[in-house]
């Protein structure tokens, strides 16, 4: 999370020049939206096949894919294997974005979302301690939110939209009010942590991404993921420990052309009172990383984090004591 003295946090440091802006221009996104309106998703998928081929021809696109692909498929390192795998991964991303747009344009009827563990989530929520819901850049979390319509408490999501981001959230297609409250860590005081703590104390749901760090390098930790140390944010675990809230790991998964399922992959109980102790938090971050690894083992083409989370160089700026705490091993 960002740190700031004037309440205007600096942009997150990204050593690789990575940013979360949309791929493609406003016109290109608009073309897909138009095709969905005219011919439904199949027509949009046809255009997608060609657009993805165009993008994958750029080395920069394949480079973004390679962070994940070379660790998930270490034996497929040749140019053509990497080209084909990059195509498949980017095509999957395109499908998810089209599904998300269709949900907004056509409405809930466009998608069937199942959540077999829904009653378990309600049970955990009923304890009144709030709930930290950690997701990841897998599947399409926005479509999965349809499964939260009947949750009796508020749902708050930590989301930052980068400047220049042109793809619309599904509720924006018809000018709807978001069905959840958005906490923007780069716009709120102290990275929004006070708002986050507040919603947990009210017994509400706080949703964060477990595989993306916003801003400050002190708030991340390296744990093993797909065979190498990768950076994960500490904030969800600190918040859970401070508020005494359970963590629920939820992943969405595309199971068909018009169908998603939401899986409750793990419940993590971080003890209260260990929020200052990074070494004590490590096993809980590992639990999340393991759950994510299990997911990508089963659904390798639905991992959509194109950021190099295995670049642990940001930890080099820490003090020796912090480095020991935050490095794996």
């Amino acid at each position: 999370m960002p740190e700031s003295s004037d309440h205007t946090p600096p942009p997150p440091r990204r050593p690789s020049g990575w940013n979360s802006r949309s791929v493609g221009t406003r016109f290109q996104h608009g073309s897909f939206y138009l095709l969905i309106r005219l011919g439904g998703k199949p027509l949009a998928y046809v255009l997608l096949a060609f657009v993805v081929l165009w993008y994958v021809c750029y080395p920069s696109t394949r480079r973004k894919c390679s962070h994940y692909l070379r660790r998930r498929f270490p034996h497929r390192q040749g140019f053509w294997a990497r080209f084909v795998d990059s195509y498949r991964l980017v095509f999957s991303l395109g499908q998810l974005l089209i599904d998300r747009a269709a949900l907004g344009i056509v409405g809930p009827a466009a998608m069937r979302v199942t959540f077999p563990d829904g009653p378990r989530l309600l049970e955990i929520l009923a304890a009144g301690k709030g709930l930290v819901m950690i997701g990841s850049h897998v599947g399409c979390w926005q479509t999965a939110l349809a499964a939260f319509e009947h949750v009796p408490t508020g749902v708050n999501l930590v989301i930052h939209r980068a400047e220049g981001d042109v793809d619309l959230h599904y509720f924006e297609h018809q000018g709807q009010v978001p069905p959840f409250r958005i906490i923007d860590p780069l716009k709120e005081f102290l990275g929004g942590v006070l708002s986050m703590l507040e919603v947990l104390r009210r017994g509400e749901i706080l949703g964060l991404m477990g595989d993306r760090v916003f801003g400050g390098d002190r708030h991340q930790i390296a744990v093993e993921f797909l065979g190498e140390p990768a950076l994960f944010p500490l904030s969800p675990y600190v918040l859970a420990s401070s508020a005494g809230s359970p963590i629920v790991v939820l992943f969405s998964h595309r199971i068909g052309r018009d169908a998603y399922t939401l899986e409750l992959a793990k419940v993590i109980q971080v003890p209260e009172g260990i929020s200052r102790d990074t070494a004590a938090l490590r096993p809980y971050v590992r639990e999340f990383a393991q759950a994510l690894e299990d997911y990508v083992d089963r659904h390798p083409w639905q991992f959509m984090n194109f950021f190099d989370m295995w670049d642990t160089s940001p930890l080099n700026d820490l003090t020796p004591k912090e480095m020991v705490d935050r490095h794996e091993g």
Partner: protein
């Protein structure tokens, strides 16, 4: 109250190199100044509740209170009176 608050911050946030005398009452708590960060703020909310029985209920209150030792002490005193 301010000295107690400073000692609680030093102990609670493991600022081992500091003494209460090193902390300026008007210096910003976050960023420049004491150098606390956003996750320290989470801990500070908990510490204030635990030691003073004062809950910082929302972001607006927190933003007002978390400027400096002076503003935080004033906020705690005000809430304890109410």
């Amino acid at each position: 109250m301010k000295d107690k608050l400073k000692q609680i911050i030093i102990d609670g946030l493991n600022l081992e190199d500091l003494t209460p005398a090193d902390i300026n009452d008007d210096a910003p708590l976050f960023g420049e100044g004491l150098g606390l960060d956003s996750l320290d703020a989470v801990e500070l909310v908990i510490l204030v509740q635990k030691h003073f029985g004062v809950a910082i209920k929302d972001m607006n209150e927190g933003q007002k209170a978390f400027q400096s030792i002076n503003t935080l002490a004033a906020y705690i005193a005000e809430q304890q009176k109410a």
